[in-house]
């Protein structure tokens, strides 16, 4: 049977090999062994070397592995990444808009776009969830939330 290229393991192996190289290069700049014993570079150098060796094994073995018959479901991955992107945007908006507004926007996006609920229902869920968080955390429990231009 023909052996083909295992792309996911190959590329993740390369990324980890790059990380291992970074760890080794950094660790070599710090003291390895000093008069008082091992320095700050001792432990990172060894796990960096181990990571480089193992990522090399992963990259090489992926080249010999049979290609998986399993199809990559890009539509499903796209849905997850869309939610992650929305989360990242709402995190970036925490400073200017505050938690309540950015969380309401995130909830609205998930309900209206990802689950295709009616806009009115999505807006109601977003408003109610954000209000519940505000009442529960800053008001009832005294846990601070990021505040933005609106003051909450």
């Amino acid at each position: 049977m023909a052996r083909k290229f295992g792309a996911a393991d190959f590329y993740s192996g390369l990324v980890l090999a790059a990380l291992a190289t970074y760890i080794i290069v950094q660790a070599r700049q710090w003291e390895y062994l000093g008069p008082d014993g091992p320095g700050p570079g001792f432990f990172p150098l060894w796990y960096g070397i181990a990571m480089a060796a193992l990522s090399g094994v992963l990259v090489l073995s992926s080249a010999w592995r049979e290609k998986s018959a399993e199809r990559v479901e890009w539509q499903k991955i796209g849905r997850a990444l869309a939610v992650w992107f929305a989360l990242a945007v709402s995190v970036a908006a925490l400073k200017p808009l505050g938690f309540v507004a950015s969380f309401a926007a995130l909830t609205f996006f998930i309900a209206a776009v990802m689950y295709r609920r009616p806009l009115a229902l999505a807006a109601a869920v977003a408003a109610a969830s954000a209000a519940a968080f505000y009442v529960l955390f800053p008001l009832a429990l005294g846990v601070p939330l990021p505040a933005g231009v609106f003051g909450f």
Binding site: L16, P38, A50, L87, K95, F103, L106, Y115, V125
Partner: protein, 501 residues
């Protein structure tokens, strides 16, 4: 006598009204979390951890432990009613539990799951109570080389059983060690891997990584599909949930099997309740007179795995509390909780904090009784949790995650890191990199480096100290043997079969 005195002290702590309340909150939350497929105890405990900083540590520990073992009770409900495990430890329960439900015996299956969980859970706590104090005394003789070797052995066990590819599990563990190394080196005050960011000088908060990799990644994975759950009807009324006398007779061996196997496997780092439940189910099938009927809805097929995953909880707390070595993602989060509250899990934990240890043990006895009472009559009510709409539930989980991280540090940089680790956790899932070794590497990384450097200071730089001391030599040899298992074809084939099943 010492144990009895400790237990009395523990009940004095656990029976305080506030601690009883936290125990109830923990077991109810645990049951709910166990019922919901896709939200596990590590994610829940990690999310709630920052909110416990203002609590009394005893109450907080009692609540978090309640979530841990309560989830094992809840997991069976989803397995039996939906044929979907609510928790990874309840996968095996689907085999016979769902078949019983299809035959109109959902009540008996749920009832026997609750009774088996109660019996084995109680035996697990008994084991914890009897084994932990003497083990802690033995561990008092451990020095830095033994600690380094013990942590290496623990990590090797987790790597062995974390996933199909040991290379990927090792890489995840090494990535965890690297994340643990970010920040200022306390021996030399050198800043390491900080990318010039002031925010990273104090390191990456464990809470940020744990919530990102467990909770955010779980939400992202669940967002892939827009599935509706189809619930089988749950009989109402207590009478329908009680198994028959014949059911109880049929489960006699399963109760004992689940109790003993669960505790023993729980003590071993890395194995965890999922593997324990498969072993217990296999053992039950092997000794049963009606083994050919397993998988068609026999009551022992529910009792054995449900018992084992509760008994395992008591076992898993033994190495955590006496040696400071967690054996799974959930116990790693519990270890981080103890450290964040200012405790040092290890041989001195029990002598220095008897009220906390014995209070926890006593609360687990009480929590198991609470769970039995809650799970028999209230299963129909708990099952309604499955009707919570996903478009409400998932944003709430994301919101609690953000609040948890922000409340712990007050830093928006940490919230941004949370999103990054959430993406990392999701990518790891998609590429089959297990999360548990990463989390354990992160939790143990600092202590492991410290133990290694202290050992080498003791020996003036000679690595021979690690093998010159017998206990450390044995543990390091075992760790090496475990890591070489892929080279032994037959043993590795057994490992892969176990993981596949």
């Amino acid at each position: 006598m010492e144990i009895l005195a400790g237990l009395m002290q523990g009940f004095a702590v656990a029976l305080q009204p506030a601690n009883l309340l936290w125990c109830l909150v923990g077991v109810v939350l645990g049951t709910v979390v166990g019922i919901m497929p896709g939200l596990g105890p590590p994610a829940t405990i990690a999310m709630l951890l920052p909110l416990t900083f203002l609590m009394n540590p005893a109450g907080a520990m009692i609540m978090l432990a309640g979530i841990y073992y309560g989830a094992k009770y809840g997991g069976s409900t989803t397995s039996i009613l939906l044929n979907v495990p609510g928790e990874s430890a309840s996968v095996v329960t689907c085999l016979d539990g769902y078949q019983m439900a299809r035959q109109g015996r959902a009540g008996a299956a749920l009832g026997i799951a609750a009774i088996a969980s109660f019996i084995a859970g109680t035996v697990g706590v008994l084991g914890l109570m009897l084994v932990a104090p003497p083990l802690a005394k033995v561990a008092l003789s451990f020095s830095s080389p033994e600690y380094f070797a013990l942590m290496a052995l623990g990590l090797a066990m987790v790597v062995l059983l974390a996933g199909r590819s040991m290379v990927k599990a090792l890489l995840a563990m090494l990535a965890g060690l690297w994340i643990a190394g970010i920040g200022t080196d306390l021996f030399s005050t050198t800043s390491r891997f900080t990318f010039g960011r002031m925010e990273l000088l104090s390191g990456v908060d464990f809470v940020v990584v744990a919530i990102g990799v467990f909770a955010i990644a779980e939400v992202l994975a669940n967002m892939e599909a827009r599935e509706e759950t189809r619930l089988l009807p749950v009989p109402k009324g207590l009478r329908n949930l009680l198994p028959t006398v014949q059911d109880l007779k049929d489960c006699r061996f399963a109760f004992a099997n689940g109790s003993v196997v669960g505790f023993l496997i729980g003590v071993l780092p890395g194995a965890g309740s999922t593997i324990a439940s498969f072993i217990s189910y296999g053992l039950e099938k092997a000794v049963s007179r009606r083994r050919e009927r397993f998988g068609t809805g026999v009551v022992e097929g529910v009792a054995a795995p449900e018992g084992v995953n509760n008994s395992e909880t008591g076992g898993a707390l033994v190495p955590l509390l006496t040696l400071g070595i967690p054996g799974s993602g959930t116990t790693a989060v519990l270890l981080a909780a103890l450290v964040l509250w200012g405790f040092k899990p290890g041989p001195l934990f029990i002598p220095e904090n008897p009220a906390l240890f014995w209070g926890l043990v006593a609360s687990m006895y009480i929590g198991n009784v609470m769970l039995l009472i809650l799970n028999l009559p209230l299963v129909p009510a708990f099952a309604q949790v499955l009707r919570a709409p996903a478009f409400v539930l998932y944003p709430v989980i994301l919101g609690i995650s953000i609040v948890g991280v922000y409340s712990a540090s007050g830093s928006l940089f940490d919230v941004a890191l949370l999103a990054a680790f959430g993406l990392l956790g999701y990518v790891m899932r998609k590429l089959d990199y297990p999360a548990a070794p990463l989390i354990l590497g992160l939790v143990l990384g600092g202590a492991m480096e410290r133990a290694l450097r202290q050992s080498l200071m003791m020996s003036e730089g000679s690595l021979s100290i690690l093998v010159a001391r017998p206990i450390s030599a044995v543990m390091l040899s075992l760790a090496l043997l475990i890591l070489l298992i892929p080279l032994f074809t037959k043993v590795n084939a057994w490992r892969l079969r176990a993981l596949d099943s």
